[in-house]
């Protein structure tokens, strides 16, 4: 879960242009993934890989406990970005899992700005992000984001009752 620190959301097209500079660190968030969340994520993705729910199998493969999915870690990064920036569109997100995370371990998400391009509604940012448990790096990541345009949320086509 996100920690309770109130962090103001920034609208990329407005606040960000004035407030952020390359190299600026963003606020730190804490997450804790529960075993129930790992189960729910396996279920909704229909990922039946045993290391995500079978403790004996996970240990037999050298993990300390069941393993938090790579995909779920990516979603923590998305939640972090969306918690800090309001009204943005994520264009790319890349992350590499460096070591296994198990449920119940608190992880800290940190980020910094590595590039700013454009201005006004065309402004875009590149971020470097990481997830750590204590001093152990779990995941190293980067993202490209921009202000959300009206066209991003338009319905491309109304299926109506035609079905698929």
């Amino acid at each position: 879960m996100l920690n309770d620190n109130p962090i103001p959301a920034n609208t990329l097209a407005n606040d960000m242009a004035n407030d952020l500079r390359v190299g600026d660190p963003l606020p730190i968030f804490d997450f804790e993934v529960s075993a129930a969340q790992v189960f729910m994520y396996s279920a909704i993705t229909w990922n039946r890989h045993q290391i995500h729910y079978n403790q004996a199998q996970a240990r037999a493969e050298g993990h300390a406990d069941i393993v938090v999915q790579r995909g779920l870690l990516g979603n923590l990064l998305v939640r972090y970005i969306n918690s800090y920036f309001d009204n943005i569109y994520i264009e790319t997100l890349a992350w590499k899992v460096v070591s296994s995370l198990t449920p119940g371990q608190v992880i800290q998400c940190t980020a910094s700005v590595i590039d700013i391009s454009g201005s006004g509604w065309q402004q875009a940012l590149r971020l470097h992000l990481s997830l750590k448990h204590k001093e152990r790096l779990i995941c190293d990541a980067s993202a490209a984001i921009r202000g959300r345009h009206r066209a991003d949320v338009l319905v491309p086509y109304n299926w109506g009752s035609e079905g698929v």
């Binding site: 993705t45 990922n47 890989h49 979603n75 890349a94 992350w95 949320v153 491309p156 698929v164």
Partner: protein, 151 residues
């Protein structure tokens, strides 16, 4: 080891608001946008937007368990390398547009490469899988290049 780009899986997925609600709950995203009831969506004739990584919910096929490897890892990892254990290593997503409830998404995955590497505990095989997601209009929605580690 290189591959010819032939798909290892290709199928369609009809996205529902229920899928999106469940995905949001699974990833711990409490944004009320994702929790609108089906009845309320119908009143507004609107279609719920999905979280950025919702494509993950569509990426694995509904294969019978017998069709999976022994460790029940995703079926695309059933490739002939010595490694028996696998784990997700990395993902690179490009997002082209939002997925919405009602979209019919076409999913197509190819194995791009298998690279041998010497790890701390022995030989590793990095399996690179590209998955493209397109909508009912044939428009690209997202692309993922995922790397799995087999050892």
């Amino acid at each position: 080891m290189t591959f010819n780009g032939a798909p290892v899986k290709e199928f369609s997925y009809l996205v529902t608001a229920r899928d999106i609600r469940r995905f949001a709950q699974a990833i711990g995203d409490t944004n009320p946008l994702y929790q609108v009831a089906d009845d309320d969506l119908a009143k507004d004739d609107d279609r719920m937007l999905a979280p950025a990584l919702f494509c993950q919910a569509m990426a694995y096929q509904d294969l019978p368990i017998e069709a999976l490897p022994a460790d029940l890892a995703p079926a695309e990892l059933t490739i002939s390398v010595p490694g028996l254990r696998s784990v997700g290593g990395a993902s690179h997503y490009e997002f082209y547009q939002y997925v919405r409830a009602g979209d019919k998404i076409r999913i197509r995955s190819c194995i791009e490469s298998v690279t041998e590497k010497q790890g701390r505990t022995g030989l590793l095989f990095l399996v690179s899988v590209t998955t493209c997601f397109t909508n009912q209009l044939g428009e690209p929605v997202a692309k993922e290049v995922a790397t799995y580690v087999k050892r």
